[in-house]
Amino acid sequence: MLFEVTAEPLDPQRLVDAVRRDEAGAVALFYGVVRNNNMGRNVLYLEYDAYPEMATRMMRQIAEEMMAAYPIADVAIQHRTGRLEIGETSLLVAVSSPHRKEAFEACHALVDRFKEVVPIWKKEVWVGGEEWIEGEAVK
């Protein structure tokens, strides 16, 4: 398991290496990437804020939820903070499992859960304005 919040560029190979197991035939790797548009606005860049100590703790918690719900071998998650340009990677999730189906499914479910509970926020800066984006309030 590997859980990190960092201002440095993310390192996919390190995540893959962290979850790889001799008995696991599949590693699913998800990239969340900064895109150039949102709700019709031309996005210039994003700025991510985080509560790092809690974010890594919540990453571990949701990884453990997924390990309990799916037959997967291991999980690694990294999120970047600070200013990110279009095309840069904000989130990496790696999941290993014996077979590919579970790796894909658990990775998908984990990203959904991540976006509900991990205390990280993005500010969108576009031509002519900026705004902190807030997700759905969940309990």
Partner: protein
């Protein structure tokens, strides 16, 4: 009196102009009481109560959780990490 460190993120940090505040509270006051106190200092924070969550010492807690001396309370607006908001 209980001295509590309050951490503010994202929009709340911008509204307060700082990301960390120390407040003194009477014993037994709760997480949501801190939010009410901050609303008096920073009126622009009013109206967020329905969407805010609270973390006490880095764990989510109920708004009515009592605070104690030395606690760290974080006010957590709806999170928005990862990639776009609409790409489920």
């Amino acid at each position: 009196m209980a001295k509590v460190k309050v951490r503010l993120f994202a929009r709340l940090g911008d509204l307060a102009g700082t990301r960390e505040i120390e407040v003194e509270l009477g014993e037994g006051l709760t997480a949501v009481d801190v939010y009410r106190l901050l609303c008096e200092r920073y009126p622009a924070m009013a109206g967020l109560n329905g969407s805010l969550m609270y973390a006490l010492n880095a764990e989510y807690v109920d708004a009515e959780t009592p605070l104690h001396d030395g606690d760290e309370l974080a006010l957590i607006p709806p999170v928005s990490g990862g990639c776009g908001v609409d790409d489920r």
